[in-house]
Symmetry: D2
Subunit: 393 residues, 4 copies
Amino acid sequence: MQRLNVALIGQGFMGRTHSNAWSQVGKFFDVPVRPVMHTLFGQEAENPRAFADNWGWRNASTDWQAVVTSPEIDLVDIATPNFMHMRPALEAIAAGKPCSCEKPLAGALDDARAMAQAARSAGVKTFVWFNYRRCPAVALAHRLVKEGRLGAIRHVRAVYLQDWADESVPLAWRFEKEWAGSGAHGDLNAHLVDMTRFVTGDEITEVAGAIAETFIKRRKRMTGVVAGGITEGLQSTDEQGDVTVDDTVLFLARFAGGAVASYEAARQATGNQNGNRFELNGTKGSLRFNFERMNELEFYDATLPRAVQGWTNLMCTHGADHPYVAHWWPDAHLIGYEHGFVNEAYDICRVLAGQEPVVPIPDFEDAYQTQRVLEAALISAQQGRPVKIDEVK
Amino acid sequence: MQRLNVALIGQGFMGRTHSNAWSQVGKFFDVPVRPVMHTLFGQEAENPRAFADNWGWRNASTDWQAVVTSPEIDLVDIATPNFMHMRPALEAIAAGKPCSCEKPLAGALDDARAMAQAARSAGVKTFVWFNYRRCPAVALAHRLVKEGRLGAIRHVRAVYLQDWADESVPLAWRFEKEWAGSGAHGDLNAHLVDMTRFVTGDEITEVAGAIAETFIKRRKRMTGVVAGGITEGLQSTDEQGDVTVDDTVLFLARFAGGAVASYEAARQATGNQNGNRFELNGTKGSLRFNFERMNELEFYDATLPRAVQGWTNLMCTHGADHPYVAHWWPDAHLIGYEHGFVNEAYDICRVLAGQEPVVPIPDFEDAYQTQRVLEAALISAQQGRPVKIDEVK
Amino acid sequence: MQRLNVALIGQGFMGRTHSNAWSQVGKFFDVPVRPVMHTLFGQEAENPRAFADNWGWRNASTDWQAVVTSPEIDLVDIATPNFMHMRPALEAIAAGKPCSCEKPLAGALDDARAMAQAARSAGVKTFVWFNYRRCPAVALAHRLVKEGRLGAIRHVRAVYLQDWADESVPLAWRFEKEWAGSGAHGDLNAHLVDMTRFVTGDEITEVAGAIAETFIKRRKRMTGVVAGGITEGLQSTDEQGDVTVDDTVLFLARFAGGAVASYEAARQATGNQNGNRFELNGTKGSLRFNFERMNELEFYDATLPRAVQGWTNLMCTHGADHPYVAHWWPDAHLIGYEHGFVNEAYDICRVLAGQEPVVPIPDFEDAYQTQRVLEAALISAQQGRPVKIDEVK
Amino acid sequence: MQRLNVALIGQGFMGRTHSNAWSQVGKFFDVPVRPVMHTLFGQEAENPRAFADNWGWRNASTDWQAVVTSPEIDLVDIATPNFMHMRPALEAIAAGKPCSCEKPLAGALDDARAMAQAARSAGVKTFVWFNYRRCPAVALAHRLVKEGRLGAIRHVRAVYLQDWADESVPLAWRFEKEWAGSGAHGDLNAHLVDMTRFVTGDEITEVAGAIAETFIKRRKRMTGVVAGGITEGLQSTDEQGDVTVDDTVLFLARFAGGAVASYEAARQATGNQNGNRFELNGTKGSLRFNFERMNELEFYDATLPRAVQGWTNLMCTHGADHPYVAHWWPDAHLIGYEHGFVNEAYDICRVLAGQEPVVPIPDFEDAYQTQRVLEAALISAQQGRPVKIDEVK
């Protein structure tokens, strides 16, 4: 079998999930190419050697350019904070290499556009880790819509609610525009926009109105290297710094097919630790998903006799009938957060071997489309007016 | 329209629900006979005149025998504590009058047998207020089973869990065998046995094993008239008395059709205020009911394509398709506890007018069958052996 | 006890709920004035005499002006379609009589303003039947916020989703601007705005953006008198007419206290029969309500030790501790839709007797404030811009 | 760091979960000894070399005795069908080696007793993979009970309901007494008995009554090697064979501390794919667990003010406060079925390094106690009488 030498750029929270994905995929899936955990890039201060040893990367490096351009590498996988996505991606593309990148595609729209254009020009295969698409329940939602089970979709409502960011949390990179691009918006609404585009198979054409708000405007500065939302154990100082990103963004939108939609991302929605949820209402049926019960999908089939219509809780764990799960455990032996990443690693292998993925993977072009919607929402919030997506280039 | 002069015997908690039922039925239902709230019987100390005025009973009396035998009365409705069911019932039957009685049919099996025999001999119409049958969700469950939607039923599991009876509750009539017959068993398992017989359409043939337990063996004696589980406001004394009924009874059983079953009634199941629940598993589907969400019925249809099989939450409030609710409010404008009694009053009117009830009402004979099962469970608990229902006469 | 002669104007769906409320209130509550169901007004074609007899109104009339101005009437209760609220209300106020009116206060903002001004000038007591405030779970939510259990509220999200209005439903009065004023917006968002103002104790200051959409633009005309959302049994013609109100309105808003908010009303949200829901997130805790499980309130107490923090499902049926329910049934013996109206009838009696209501009742002034918010949302949707509530007079 | 050379005996469904556990534990946990995946034993026909390569076992062998007694092996891990547990366990113990064994301890009580006695005599450390103990929600339940949060426990009710075993499923080893010992009872009730003993910290003293039933008495014989409940892909023949184990076992029991209990295991409980559930009711609080929502634990705290008492849904994913999860992902980024095994591998490493496990691991002695309860239930079902656990040696 052909091997696929993977280089991982980044070793924070996302470096961990990607490492796990590359480590697990070959054990559970019958992969068409054999991924090899070839090289990890990390910054000196992060001790990439220890990380590499723990996760099984053969080599560790502190020179990302050397890694990305090395002839031994077959796939460049980027898992750094948002502002650091573009440079390694462009170099990989320039070297003609497939590139998979964490979401959102970039911290800034300009970066995202440049990445999409470069990929298009070079004709290399690209992938973005919008992991929730490969949660079996979400992939099933996509299939049910595609089969016409919902009829015409009229309503999309999506929220991604977290509550980790109260006053006690210090000024991590996620709170600074320079590193993160935006706050809850790019972190969480990015997932919602991707998921709802994916599941509906439709495109957002306009943001009708929006609110962006930062509730906590100053936080304690930190010392030391910071990565990911996990700030426990890091040291805060007494000095305060400005939060330069949003805590919450809400927006209303319209889809090309006529649906109206609402979105909300929040980091101080007390009681919601990871409430990534959507509901779609169509003329023939409806769907509800909540990541906090990620193995379940609620389906309302309005074509059944009315006496037995209701919200049906689909436990999406039946190997013969639900996406991905045949590779995992028996029925209702649940899978968790990391499995979406392993499933994506599998689909990346499939695409690189010339096969169809189980469900579509967003490439840079597709993720750039998501980024344009996010940008439109920010413009709408700032300017107090509807913004067509076509305005945002 | 023909009138139906009702006499109510008893004015405790159940007297209140029956009064409400007779008062509401004609407003919401197109009744085939017109119920008239003719006479209330209560004990002198209970002030029946005030109760009658509040609820709209035309007359109040403290002489139950005069009431029951009065030629003006068309239906004798009994809502007293269990030990007081038999005497007015037998007199009513002797007078050739239809009689409706609160559940359980009686505190003692001997009473129940006598009541069933008297009704059979006299050929009068009798009714027992197993109100949960007429909760729309339970009536729908009955219909779905009857239509064969569950296939052959293999499992019945039913619990009725309450938590009102901690150490602070004084020695109300419900804790004394003399007045109540049994404790949680007759109060709660009676409902479960009736409901599961009703919904499955099958009969219990054997109790395979049982446990009866009284956790709190002594309670403070009370002063004053006591009725119903509502003991707030009543006065306790410092003197302790013996609890002579069970706090909990669990038993295992077999149905004629091959199903195995478990039952549990409890009064100290902390956190369960009125957890009247059952689940049935059949070869083609399953059903779950929980009174604490009484407008809902969960249905699992194993004949649907496997990809979309799941527990469907039926909101049983759609007038055109669900029993009784067309007479109430629009879809998902919920009904509550008392509506089952109003629905039963309607069905009693239908039967007395020679029509079919919406779903079957248990008569004394049917309720006696339930009582035999309860008795078998107590014998099994005492003697540590399986008990066939046929043994219990 | 002092009597309160009530006149009811209207006998549609709401006439039914108000009749039930006036009929039940004295039976379950110890009222400080004794409501008498004195006179019903209905149109000739509706046969008010039959309605009055069914529900126990002593008199029936087809002359609303005579009823409203009759010296025998102590309270004018208006339950007509929206466009007919103003005239009887103004006459009642002119006659110095207390007046209770169905929600929304009026179909048009001008009407609402006139009603509020008249009430203010005349100094008469007015009430609006925003019934959900008196659902015990919502009243409890109000209390918990007032006690400071949520801290500062940052997020309000509210949806009221129904699905009764598909293509098969003919052109009832609710679909015509002339009679209804607006569609889902005035019918459903009115409840959400009232409830969230009530529960938060805060005021909306701005609508930041909005969408209004009519999915089904033409419907079959009907023959006969039409009232309420219950269109079954009415006759449609083959002729089509224009729908002149919205099917759905979504809007984003800001509260004076700093919270951001989203609202959505919909009539084609398949699978949601009566999904009247809100969630509030505060610095110390959160609340969730869903009318489809109206006896329950979810509370997240972020001041508990983290290990045992979670969403707590409060069954709001404990007489000693939850509003209104002591007057109804034992714990977890659920109440339903109509009980909120009976509870409101009780509170109206209390206020008219000079007592405090259990929780505040909106008067015309307060309901006019809700109406201004609704108007601001419509302007925002039409003009594509943020609208301050202060702009709307 | 000291290494721990592990030998795995068996490569079926459980061989897969154990392999994953040994592979993942070092990546996520800071282990006190370094587990090395040294040797896999499988039968020739199973191709152990391929399995070993896939999962990362260094060596593969078809001679289990050589493996178990090899001086290079530090831990013998047994994951074979039940009837094959005893022989390798006894050899390992005889060789003075720690031994971890899948549950139930053995197919037959005699085997279990011999294993427990051998371990006791030899003084070697043993472990049984009752994996659900290490599900964070179950481990938290154990802690909360231990802290006294439930007070005195009065009710235990536990069911483990599956539905995979309909008529279409052929005669796999799990349906034959010779290989499996028992059916749903040893497979599923074993977990319930272990979990409830673990969480309550109390011992079952008596089985009061029981039912054992086999609904499907004959099934199609299979060809080929069969392991685990996953029978898809295996070939059935037309020949029928007898099912010699139970499909369902229900029993009632008493705990030393006074609680009454019910248990049920089922394989045809349509709609329940993996419904491993328990509820405990104590004088101060209650707990509910359902493996189908394994990241959640419901807690009712009856010591809170009554107005805010309710079932609290604890999302057991908060690293700082909930067992094991700090080693996995951020809050509410769920874990799945296999994580309990990884957590157990960690605790085995801790114990072998002389540390305390996060929560207690059952050894052979402890698992033998569970087996005695299971045996008592079977005797009770067969003999129709209560059976004291002390009778069962």
